[in-house]
């Protein structure tokens, strides 16, 4: 399962479902358990929707399967070329929203994953990277 990777555009609302299905297949095939698959797919849904809502039409999701002895992992990157996030700390706080949602997006995704990093430049765009590890079967 080494060196598996790929990417998928996020340009339409339908791409959110496409990304979810792709990552459900990839993580199931890699050997993640049912609950971890659900956590990862839910994180994908949140982040892909962020990209779609905030960035217009040129977002992309990249994924890569990771492995180290006894473990399987996946790293995902969501890049948009939107307005950027002026205050990343505020954006990760529970309850913060600019889009009229519950504001659970980024703070919730962080709890579902093992790690999350955000790089953002105002007016240039945002890249959110997440990683999840599981026990290899």
């Amino acid at each position: 399962m080494t060196n598996e990777s790929g990417e998928n555009p996020i340009q339409t609302e339908g791409d959110i479902v496409t990304c979810r299905k792709l990552i459900r297949n990839v993580t199931s095939a890699a050997g993640f358990g049912m609950t971890d698959v659900t956590r990862i797919v839910t994180a994908v849904s949140e982040l892909a929707r962020n990209v779609y809502v905030h960035s217009g039409s040129e977002g992309v999701m990249r994924w890569q399967i990771l492995d180290k002895p006894g473990q399987i992992g996946i790293q995902l990157e969501f890049e948009d070329f939107g307005v950027g996030i002026p205050d990343i700390n505020q954006a990760v706080e529970a309850g913060f929203t600019t889009a009229g949602s519950m504001g659970m997006g980024l703070s919730g995704v962080k709890r579902l994953m093992d790690s999350m990093t955000i790089k953002s430049d105002v007016d240039m765009g945002t890249t959110v990277s997440i990683t999840k590890w599981g026990r290899a079967k």
Binding site: E13, G14, I16, V17, R20, K21, R24, M34, T35, V37, T38, R39, V41, T42, S45, E46, R49, A94, S101, M102, M104, G105, S107, G108, V109, R111, L112
Partner: protein, 122 residues
């Protein structure tokens, strides 16, 4: 049933709405108006939202469920969410989601029991 459509069935005084396994945003948008229009049409007093097929519940879907429950309440109805899968319950809780004033049951049978025992609707 088409794998990606909502099914809306009238059962006496209540509506049984079944959500497909991987609902796209269009289906979720459709849920609200379809449910409210059916409640008006059939004069339903209750709604069972069967999510036993659903394998992902994100904040957008949760917000729609919570809002729909509130709207159904404004129209005089009670909502019961039936059949949430274990992995979805775990993930939704970790993500910090809540479903507003909806009651939850393990499955549709128990949702029907609630409507018959507590609300005398079935």
């Amino acid at each position: 049933m088409d794998e990606n459509t909502l099914s809306v069935i009238k059962l006496k005084n209540i509506l049984l709405v079944t959500v497909p396994d991987e609902p796209g945003d269009d289906i979720i948008h459709e849920l609200q108006t379809k449910v409210l229009n059916a409640i008006e049409k059939y004069q339903s007093k209750g709604l069972i939202l069967d999510i036993s097929n659903v394998n992902i519940l994100d904040s957008f879907f949760a917000r729609t469920i919570s809002e729909t429950t509130q709207m159904v309440a404004l129209m005089g109805g009670q909502t019961v969410i039936a059949g949430m899968q274990p992995c979805v319950a775990i993930t939704a809780t970790e993500l910090g989601l809540h479903l507003g004033k909806a009651i939850s049951t393990l499955d549709v049978d128990r949702a029907l029991d609630i409507f018959s025992d507590n609300f005398k609707l079935v």
